[in-house]
């Protein structure tokens, strides 16, 4: 199994700076998107801090065991542990520096090892799986909106007032401990995993995400097109997209390469998955 990866972040057309951050370590199968908050410069700091903390945690314990007994596979549990550690770290830093008080960030991380993607998230950054020509959400936002939907008080048609749509009920860095949502999903050749900040999902409908994957196929091209679409629709927030394509053995790649050369005559680097 191999992974081909595209990633891009964009300030959008309204915000003065980009408070999103992402990490794409294709050689490790590890991908993270964070959407910081807390006003300049703390939001930017929080998302960057989360990425750094995750990278550090996972490097320190690259092949270590998970900290506790877990219903999840070891790599998934390590990702969750790293997310929890980064929460503690950001919370600690925010307490130390009054300029950074109240900073926070969302996080969605996917670690793909041995064809199983472990997904951890806090906040309203999302993960999707493209499988069998269908886009499936892997995360549910920790937002007031989603809480209303779960309670049967609202649905996509009967929405909350605009000013209540961006109320989060969980983020990293605002409290000493945080609940992390976790899931695992098998990925196969032809699947795509998409991670994004809400700057994408507020501007671009899920049907358009599916359309972009189906149409462009190339991970970087998908990212570029989706960001262009989000900006065309207003670009109200920072936009970050990471797209991971799962491809098969050498014969799959050969067929893929042939198809692509017929289509566009160029190729992107592929990475062996761990």
């Amino acid at each position: 199994m191999r992974l081909r990866v595209g990633a891009r972040t964009d300030t959008g057309r309204v915000r003065p700076q980009n408070e999103d951050a992402y990490m794409s370590q294709a050689e490790h199968g590890l991908f993270v998107v964070c959407d910081g908050m807390g006003g300049a410069p703390a939001g930017e700091v929080a998302s960057e801090m989360a990425i750094q903390a995750i990278a550090r945690e996972l490097k320190d314990r690259e092949n270590g065991d998970a900290l506790e007994a877990s219903p999840f596979l070891p790599h998934t549990q390590r990702l969750v542990d790293a997310v929890r550690q980064s929460n503690e770290f950001i919370y600690g830093e925010a307490q130390k520096d009054p300029r950074q008080a109240g900073m926070g960030t969302t996080i969605v991380g996917a670690w793909i090892r041995e064809q199983i993607a472990g997904v951890a998230h806090v906040g309203d950054s999302r993960a999707y799986l493209w499988h069998n020509d269908r886009l499936e959400p892997l995360t549910r936002d920790h937002s007031l909106m989603e809480a209303h939907i779960e309670a049967g008080l609202a649905d996509e048609g009967r929405s909350l007032p605009v000013e209540q749509q961006n109320i989060l009920v969980r983020v990293l860095g605002r409290e000493p401990a945080v609940d992390v949502d976790v899931t695992e999903v098998p990925v196969r050749s032809g699947d795509y995993v998409l991670l994004c900040s809400d700057g994408l999902t507020r501007m671009v409908a899920e049907s358009e995400l599916a359309h972009a994957i189906r149409t462009y196929q190339d991970p970087q091209q998908i990212c570029d097109r989706l960001i262009a679409t989000a900006n065309m629709n207003g670009g109200a927030d920072n936009i970050t997209v990471v797209v991971v394509e799962v491809t098969g053995g050498w014969w799959h790649r050969l067929i893929d390469r042939w198809k692509r050369s017929v289509r566009r005559g160029q190729d992107v680097e592929t990475y062996a998955a761990v």
Partner: protein, 255 residues
């Protein structure tokens, strides 16, 4: 611009612009917050629909009244008197100088965060709203890992072939059959697939996905995602495993 004036026993308390839409309720995330036990957490909302301004009851316990009559959805007319609990809200269609409707909540740039205390209060209200809401609850398949501790657990019984155990309990979120050292059912041999089958918990059931080799289910190729049923036979690299349910074994630990 239209506005709402909150009154109590005939005394005007505060004006609110309708703006893009506002909610009325007891919780602090409402633009019009009425701290009174007779008012539901999210009691009602007011919003524009085309040129009209709509009042909608959000499934409140004690109801919303306009000019003395209970309403669930009502097109507001100038001068309408809305009763929420013991507070009146008067609708003014053509207010000249509306005050911005501000939710009394800590604002973080444009995204707002509810802390645990606020969130707990909200959740309690939502749960009670769900309990007494007459409308059907909107359900979606859970994708998060909230283990609902099923009373029964799936097991794989070895019917034929050699394996380390006679029976494997599918306790984890994902159970793997393969050569991988994270596999629950370990396959031995160089040419065995690292992961032949992944079995994932899905709500109360289990979904099997073929990942490598040519696994069979009930003698047919395992394709796509397969919902395991009692008595299904999985054939993986010479190993034959039967899926079965086992009653009331263990409660899961939360992740």
């Amino acid at each position: 611009m239209s506005k709402l004036t909150l009154q109590y026993e005939g005394i005007a308390l505060k004006d609110y612009a309708v703006g893009a839409g506002i909610t009325i309720g007891r919780l602090p995330d409402n633009a019009v917050m009425i701290d009174n036990p007779a008012v539901s957490g999210h009691h009602a909302r007011v919003f524009h629909e085309g040129n009209r301004v709509i009042l909608e009851d959000l499934g409140s316990t004690n109801g919303t009244f306009v000019n003395g009559r209970p309403v669930t959805r009502h097109v507001l007319q100038h001068g309408d008197e809305v009763l929420v609990g013991k507070h009146q809200i008067v609708f003014d269609q053509n207010s000249a100088e509306p005050q911005p409707a501000g939710a009394p909540m800590q604002s973080l740039g444009d995204t707002v965060y509810l802390d645990t205390k606020q969130h707990r209060a909200l959740r309690a209200t939502l749960e009670s709203a769900r309990a007494d809401a007459a409308r059907p609850v909107h359900t979606r398949a859970a994708v998060s890992a909230s283990p609902s501790a099923p009373r029964r657990v799936g097991v794989l019984r070895v019917i034929a072939g050699s394996a380390e155990q006679e029976e494997y309990s599918l306790d984890g979120h994902t159970s793997i059959i393969g050569r991988s050292n994270t596999a629950l059912v370990r396959l031995r041999g160089w040419f065995k697939p690292s992961i032949a089958v992944a079995i994932a918990k899905n709500g109360p059931g289990y979904v099997a996905t073929a990942m490598g080799g040519k696994p069979l289910v009930n003698q047919s190729p395992l394709e796509g995602r397969y919902n395991l049923q009692e008595g299904d036979m999985l054939t993986v690299s010479g190993l034959v495993l039967e899926f079965a349910w086992k009653e009331g074994v263990r409660a899961e630990s939360a992740a």
